[in-house]
Symmetry: C2
């Protein structure tokens, strides 16, 4: 019998309790041992909850309990999560977390610490919710050199963009609806400005190249400037607009970015709708693979945490190797990276635009009047900013096809 302590009894934490309860027998069979939650640390009380009697307000009730060998951290943020996780590992307990902020910031150090203490620090749920992606990247695609990662990593923004595209509504209207339906938070900044996606692509890129990517180094643009007119043009191009977290290696440099992008119909990410997430990975041998599923939500995310608990139980007294060193991975300058841009200017700027962007390709839709829209030849952002000077740009979006 393995005893587990949970820190943070919110959505994911209570989901972990539920998954361990509902699938108890099959989980015991797969782990080789029964798994039981012994204590749950949360500042709140939960009268009437199934786990009511397990609640403590004192983290020491978990830390000092030598029977508890696995700690689940589902509180979020880095303070005090980092201190709790560190103390747990130092006390010889394995830790399973869904906390992307913690993993993106302290991942390499916590893996090293876990190795020193011969326990495990596992974080499948920190990216892609219930989608197995950390484990495939670490343990399945081991024959590969990763060439490119491209993901729809945030359910809230994908829900908003899907709804804008389907209904022809504008951003503000759909955000309000998403908030009313509980798909977006009251303060949606972390999602809509791309910060959440940024943490997640930082984690995936760190794992792909084995070094620490500082998420502050990743140029991040959210979806707040996307309009219904952009969606009309996207349809005319047989493309969809998605918030993409991506990284790729070219000539030995790793480039990373978060930005909305036009995704063509032939790409598998094109048809990832609503709150679904998907992570597309290109390896130098396997070529394209993609992992798809629910990137958030109580039970899917909890399912990933529980899979980590099962791994921790199966690998007692044995550290599972994860190659992610503390050395910083210096990213290439994304502003030098060449891609095509979709650009909208007022019709009055048409001739100027054609003069500035000599190879531009016009994009037309019946639904938008008074504008000239086009796709540029491949160029860097620095080059683009130079050439675009003097034009009144209504919007510009990266073309990812």
């Amino acid at each position: 019998m393995v005893k587990v302590g949970i820190i943070g009894y919110g959505t994911v934490g209570s989901g972990v309790f539920e998954v361990l309860d509902v699938n108890k027998e099959s989980i015991a069979e797969k782990s080789g041992e029964e798994i039981q939650v012994k204590r749950i640390c949360d500042l709140r009380e939960f009268p009437g909850d199934k786990a009511e009697k397990l609640i403590t307000h004192d983290f020491n009730d978990i830390l000092k309990d030598s029977e508890i060998s696995v700690v689940v951290e589902t509180m979020g943020g880095t303070k005090p999560a980092y201190d709790f996780v560190k103390a747990s590992i130092e006390a010889g307990k394995s830790v399973c977390t869904s906390n992307k902020e913690l993993v993106a910031t302290y991942g390499a150090g916590l893996i090293k610490l876990a190795k020193q203490h011969n326990v495990n620090f596992l974080f499948e749920a920190s990216v892609g919710g219930g989608i197995p992606v950390i484990r495939p990247l670490n343990h399945a695609l081991t024959a590969e050199k990763v060439v490119e990662i491209k993901g729809i990593l945030n359910g809230t923004t994908n829900f908003i963009l899907t709804k804008m595209s389907r209904e022809g509504s504008d951003y503000a209207t759909v955000l309000k609806e998403a908030q009313d339906m509980g798909y977006a938070e009251k303060n949606p900044t972390a999602d809509v400005e791309g910060f959440d996606t940024c943490r997640k692509i930082a984690i995936l890129t760190s794992l792909a190249y084995g070094k620490q990517v500082d998420y502050n180094d990743i140029q991040t643009e959210g979806i707040t400037k996307i309009t219904k007119e952009d969606m009309d043009y996207a349809k005319a191009l047989d493309a969809s607009i998605k918030l993409i977290g991506e990284s790729k290696i070219e000539d030995g440099s790793v480039y990373a970015r978060v930005a909305p992008a036009l995704i063509g119909r032939e790409q598998p990410l094109y048809s990832v709708h609503d709150v679904f997430n998907a992570i597309f990975i290109k390896g130098n041998m396997v070529d394209d693979v993609m992992f798809y599923g629910r990137g958030a939500g109580k039970l899917p995310t909890a399912s990933a945490v529980v899979a980590d608990i099962v791994d921790a139980v199966k690998n007692k007294d044995r550290h599972i190797t994860t190659i992610w060193e503390e050395d910083k991975l210096k990213l290439g300058d994304i502003r030098q990276y060449k891609q095509r841009f979709f650009v909208r200017v007022p019709e009055s700027d048409k001739q100027d635009a054609k003069n500035s962007f000599s190879e531009c390709e016009e994009v037309k839709t019946e639904k938008v009047k008074g504008e000239f829209a086009f796709i540029t030849a491949p160029m860097s952002e620095n080059e683009f900013d130079d050439v675009v000077k003097g034009l009144n740009v209504i919007n510009r979006i990266i073309v990812n096809f």
Copy 2:
């Protein structure tokens, strides 16, 4: 340094040699040891090949070599593959195979034997080529009870169906083109009659429920009866026709089947085109996940075999648990399972059809004349066969949306 022996230097076997060569350093880092191919057993000679000097015609040169700790079996078929694999495991070597016939037939027994000898029998490449699906099912979705598996598991048939749909060509024409392009074999029976898909869904279903599924028990229908008219109707329905291998659990019974099916646009399998494969899995907690990629081809398949070699090296003297017992899983009677059917009859049978299938829903396309096509209410195949008596059915396809 770990020494590997390869049996069968065909497409996949030579791919394994190439992947181990090209990604040598990164594979050594991930395994913790350098991996080197020492001998390759094949009846042919390979003059001028990089591996020329490693070739032997005698399997004993691998079996009796105590330096070789991992054997790769990429010869296909069960005879003599089974004897070679069994002997290798009994000699204390781990075996990694891409051979779906071997795994579907002898999987449970070989896993048991590997456990007894404290080595590993790994077979990621036997389903889905380069797509990690065996490992996620075994080691990532461990918190789940699998409710449903639905896969496009054969690249040849998906290529043919995609081309028929895009070009409006008939089956025979496209098959011929696929053969000329090397995407279909001269004798395409195993692919187009669904036998290959059948082996693969048998393996996935065995792993999902932990017992041996006999692939002979799975009702299997290929794509040879699909016509360009069916494709026209599919488009009118906003659906695509895919060869689907599927299994699901209902009221405690597991049902499995291979058959072409109409897949609606909202399903992620809808947009899996050309030679790509995808496996959709529904768990009771995580809901829908899907794994997508190249289901065949030299390097993708070899990449999956090499990932198994890495796992075998990382788990020396330690058997990785795979729950797949030899007890037979008795499947439910698929002919009792209820679904909707798409049916085409001559226009002259219209009134009879409407009388027989009272709840039918007409399907119209401008492109096909002189027919009456409809979708039935949910019913079993037994019920369908009863009701349809007396009608001249042109074709009937399962509706999977």
